[in-house]
């Protein structure tokens, strides 16, 4: 036979389409998915019908209307739904800039499934959990070295919770110096994650947000104008979401310090600067990492993640309790921390993800982490070159500004010329078996797109992603309808959005949907 001529890139793709019913529609009365261990008959005889002791107004008389299904049907339903989901394992996941969608090594997932991890209770005697405590202690030492900070807590369950933890420590610090009342403002930047603003607000702060100057980051003058004796702290990302590194960061820190404020470095995504520059070197008092971003733990459809907050010695007394300590012989939890901000979440953190992050660092070492950073940056700049060849896309802010690990692009030209918006491209990208993200709100960069290729993707992967964008841009210029009516190859077609913002129509559960649509059915039938 003659050689088979392969299909060109971008590849043909169609997302799984199972027309899968809502799980309640699969219910078969009487079916069972799993049986519960029966009570020993002698117990049954001895104690009788215990539930009858529940006072009548607290005894559940109507069983919960859950689906009734055989096990294979539950499994099949969720297998189909999983097929209709596109994780990092399946796609060139460079389109969720700022979120560091890197490869999560399978071996680390597998290791955490050990009953010696998964089935540990957090209040077991310390002698029975020396292994996991050692992992936590050692990961803290690693993160101290990577950031230059003096102490870490691994308790926050994810990135935003880590920001909140830092806000709470800032507050406790100022209160300990009797400046809590006076320092009621937190400064952040619009290109830092929205949670920097939102967490500060929850803690009671007034939020001051700095907007970028012509260089893509706020000017030192703008900061100086915002800083005062009311400043509690600056919460800032660097490089910001644009991928531009603020070279005046040391001066920023000094200005805030001179006014008596603290500086917190949002390092949710530190992927491009591992071993290159450290929070402590720029003078920061606090920082945080997302173990599910830079340190590879899987994103789990939106958690569980894991956050880690680093502080200087001056802030260490305020860390959440307990800390993990080592006395040279054994590892133990120290709950005796009189100045601690207390608990951020139950227990000590998302332990299985702490183990995964530890294993990831152990598999790479110092040179490997540096390689991660350098390849992430190289990949980003390679993709940048490719993307800028595409018609209609541009790079905001002055030429010559380097991009570190991600880039915020603009499709403003394409929108002006074709009427196709970045959000339309986002939808059309799904037709090619990958993902794309505009940016956080507000769209300071018009028609934004944020790409972050990390170290996990090859040159061919990046070429393929660029080819998808190129094709969509071409479609926008030649056949915009194709883009505007996307998706075409997805599980479903365009969703009708009006009900989501209409209290009369929105349906957050199946029971609400049935109730609201039954009413409608009745009206139309009459």
């Amino acid at each position: 036979m003659k050689p088979i001529a392969r299909k060109p890139i971008p590849r043909r793709f169609h997302q799984a389409r199972w027309d899968e019913p809502i799980i309640f529609e699969l219910s078969q009365p009487g079916a069972r998915g799993i049986l519960v261990p029966e009570v020993d008959t002698t117990i049954e005889e001895e104690v009788g019908d215990v539930e009858q002791k529940i006072p009548q107004n607290m005894r559940r008389e109507t069983p919960p209307a859950l689906p009734e299904m055989a096990q294979i049907h539950v499994l099949r339903h969720y297998m189909r739904l999983s097929q209709e989901t596109l994780g990092v394992d399946l796609n060139i996941d460079v389109g969720q800039g700022t979120c560091t969608m890197k490869y999560s090594p399978k071996v680390n997932d597998q290791l955490t499934r050990s009953p010696k991890m998964a089935d540990l209770h957090p209040l077991q005697d310390e002698s029975t959990v020396q292994g996991i405590l050692e992992v936590m202690w050692r990961l803290e030492q690693f993160l101290k070295e990577i950031s230059g900070m003096d102490r870490f807590t691994l308790q926050p369950p994810a990135g935003s919770a880590a920001i909140y933890t830092n806000v709470a420590m800032v507050q406790a610090y100022h209160e300990s110096r009797r400046e809590g009342q006076q320092r009621d403002e937190v400064i952040t930047t619009i290109f830092s994650h929205p949670s920097n603003a939102a967490c500060a607000k929850v803690a009671g702060y007034r939020v001051v947000t700095l907007y970028p100057g012509p260089q893509g980051y706020p000017s030192l003058e703008a900061l100086k104008a915002a800083v005062s004796e009311r400043t509690a702290a600056l919460f800032i990302t660097n490089p910001e979401d644009t991928g531009i590194f603020n070279p005046q960061i040391e001066e920023f820190v000094k200005v805030v310090h001179n006014a008596g404020g603290l500086c917190a470095y949002d390092q949710a995504n530190a992927n491009g600067i591992l071993g290159i520059t450290r929070a402590r070197d720029a003078g920061f008092d606090l920082c945080h990492f997302n173990l599910h971003k830079t340190f590879s733990t899987p994103h789990g459809c939106g958690g569980p993640g894991a956050g880690a907050c680093g502080v200087t010695t001056a802030l260490a007394p305020f860390l959440p309790r307990p800390t993990v300590e080592f006395d040279g012989k054994k590892y133990f939890l120290n709950d005796d921390l009189p100045y601690s901000i207390g608990k951020i979440r139950p227990w000590y953190g998302v332990a299985q993800n702490i183990l995964k992050a530890y294993a990831w660092i152990m598999s790479l070492g110092a040179d490997g982490l540096r390689e991660v950073a350098e390849i992430a940056v190289l990949n980003n700049n390679y993709l940048l070159n490719k993307v800028l060849e595409i018609q209609g896309v541009s790079l905001p802010y002055p030429e010559g500004k380097r991009r570190i690990e991600q880039v915020r692009y603009s499709w403003e030209k394409l929108t002006n010329e074709t009427g196709v918006h970045s959000e339309d491209i986002e939808t059309r990208v799904a037709d090619f078996g990958t993902h794309y993200w505009t940016s956080h709100h507000p769209y300071v960069v018009p028609e934004p797109m944020t790409l972050e290729p990390t170290e996990s993707y090859s040159q061919a992967d990046l070429d393929e992603y660029a080819a998808i964008l190129r094709q969509i841009a071409q479609e926008a210029y030649t056949n915009p309808e194709l883009v505007l009516t996307a998706p075409h190859n997805s599980t479903v077609h365009r969703t009708v959005h009006e009900p989501f913002d209409d209290p009369e129509q929105w349906a957050i559960t199946w029971r609400a949907y049935k109730r609201k649509t039954a009413a409608r059915d009745h009206t139309s039938g009459a």
Binding site: V39, P55, N57, L111, G204, G302, R345, P346, H435, A512
Partner: protein, 465 residues
């Protein structure tokens, strides 16, 4: 470790192949990656090499190392454990682990409904099944854990009532109280209500005296942290409502096959932790929080979490999904949104959905009933031991307080001796509730059989001799 002379090709980093790296540098017209770091000033550049252990480059070496560390742990299933207090050893169905290990779910994140239709549907179904369990129409995509769920539910009540005080049951666990106190501090003043030394139940006289037109919310747990049911729940809710306050109840979802959900006795917001529903303990890493309300925009608009809704698509017969009332979130409005939203515990939401679908109505009834019978049996057997008594009379779900004061021994000492027999005794309450003296909170679930309970009773008897 010998110094490595040749460059390492890292299996997780495709472009670490030296020739590829060269070609890419050439393609971007630079000599070294360092050129891209030009905007990072010299003064803050890290010089030298991070002081980290030499890497375990092969997977085999890594596995050996990690397994060596894990070998120092004893899993609860390798012993006989009666620990609980918010983190529970229930049976985890194999299908739960199978589904949450699927790479599609495990590694997805923030996709649109078009690439991640399945993720949206699975979480909508989770919300829907929890809605049935809780008899409420609105349930969130999980927040971090039950502590956060309670703290946020209290703030929602504060925003809805625009009042500034909260009354809390006095038997709340100290860690949960710590989280709530820290979180609601700028908005709510907390007052802990007394409880009966005999039954543990909330002091309703104190509730009536303390409640006022400043009270935003009355909060309690059912079952309580100390295991007994707050049997006068309807009365508490009524007192709250008569005073214009809301009633927030934290519940254990696995109890709701046999115990009424808060909606049925006047609870306005239900909250709690889904860890019991098919999720391993993970040394405390298996938590996810739920918040549920009625379908009232006044309530819905106060949720910080994402709420996935169902809607038609442009093609007849297709279910579509999306975010309900997205404009209330911090994603949309930064500090003007409700609290904040971010990565939390979605995979556990999917898992809890799988669990509820497997269990069905009968499974939830069976498990609730079976646990309560085992607990009753355990209480009877353990109370027979000289010096050991049940601390709070009343109805217990899966936990109960054992009083060791009459033994003249400390819980620590007793539990150390149990540990030598391979038994993890309950949670020592002596520091957390000093007013109880030497008491411990014991947990019994469906994984315990009669032999386990008898073994505990025999062992306790032996160590107390």
């Amino acid at each position: 470790m010998p110094h490595r002379m040749k460059p390492v090709v890292y299996p997780y980093i495709p472009n670490s192949v030296p020739s590829v790296k060269e070609a890419m540098l050439k393609a971007v017209r630079v000599k070294s990656v360092d050129e891209f770091y030009a905007d990072i000033p010299e003064s803050i550049r890290f010089k030298g090499r991070l002081h980290l252990p030499e890497p375990l480059l092969s997977e085999a070496d890594l596995v050996r190392h990690i397994e060596g560390l894990l070998a120092k742990n004893t899993g609860a299933r390798e012993a006989l454990s009666f620990l609980g207090a918010g983190c529970y050893q229930h049976h985890v169905p194999a299908v739960c682990d199978e589904i949450n290990s699927r790479g599609e779910f495990l590694t997805a994140y923030a996709g649109d409904p078009y690439e991640d239709h399945g993720r949206f549907q699975a979480l909508f179904e989770y919300q829907s099944m929890m809605g049935e369990l809780l008899n409420m129409d609105v349930v969130n995509v999980p927040t971090y854990d039950g502590f956060q769920a309670a703290a946020t539910a209290l703030l929602m009540a504060q925003r809805i009532t625009k009042r500034s005080e909260a009354l809390l049951c006095g038997t709340i666990g100290k860690d949960k109280l710590s989280k709530i106190q820290g979180y609601v501090r700028p908005y709510l003043q907390l007052q802990l209500l007394g409880y009966s030394p005999v039954t543990g139940l909330m002091d309703l006289d104190e509730l009536k005296q303390s409640i006022s037109d400043q009270t935003a919310v009355v909060f309690f747990e059912n079952p309580s942290y100390l295991g007994f049911l707050e049997t006068r729940a309807a009365e508490i809710a009524q007192i709250a409502h008569e005073n214009g306050a809301l009633c927030v109840v934290s519940v254990d979802p696995i109890s709701l096959g046999v115990i009424s959900p808060p909606a049925d006795y006047g609870g306005d917001i239900a909250c709690g932790d889904i860890q019991p529903l098919g999720i391993h303990m993970e040394y405390g890493g298996g938590h996810g929080g739920f918040i549920a309300t009625r379908d009232d925009p006044e309530f819905v608009m106060e949720f910080p979490s994402r709420l996935f809704g169902i809607s038609p698509t442009i093609v007849e017969g297709e279910y579509g999904f999306g975010d309900v009332a997205y404009e209330r979130t911090s994603f949309a409005l930064r500090e003007e949104g409700k609290e904040w939203v971010g990565t939390a515990a979605a995979l556990w939401g999917i898992t809890a959905g799988v669990y509820l679908a497997l269990m069905g109505p009968q499974g939830m009834i069976d498990i609730g009933k079976g646990i309560m019978q085992r607990v009753e049996y355990a209480i009877r057997q353990l109370s027979k031991i000289p010096g050991v008594a049940l601390r709070f009379e009343g109805i217990h779900f899966k936990e109960f307080v054992l009083d060791f004061n009459q033994t003249g021994q400390s819980v620590t000492a007793i539990h150390q001796r149990l540990l030598q027999k391979g038994i993890f005794g309950g949670v020592d309450l002596s520091a957390e509730f000093p007013e109880l003296g030497q008491c411990a909170l014991y947990t019994v679930t469906e994984i315990h059989n009669r032999a386990d309970i008898d073994r505990l009773a025999d062992s306790l008897q032996e160590v107390l001799l």
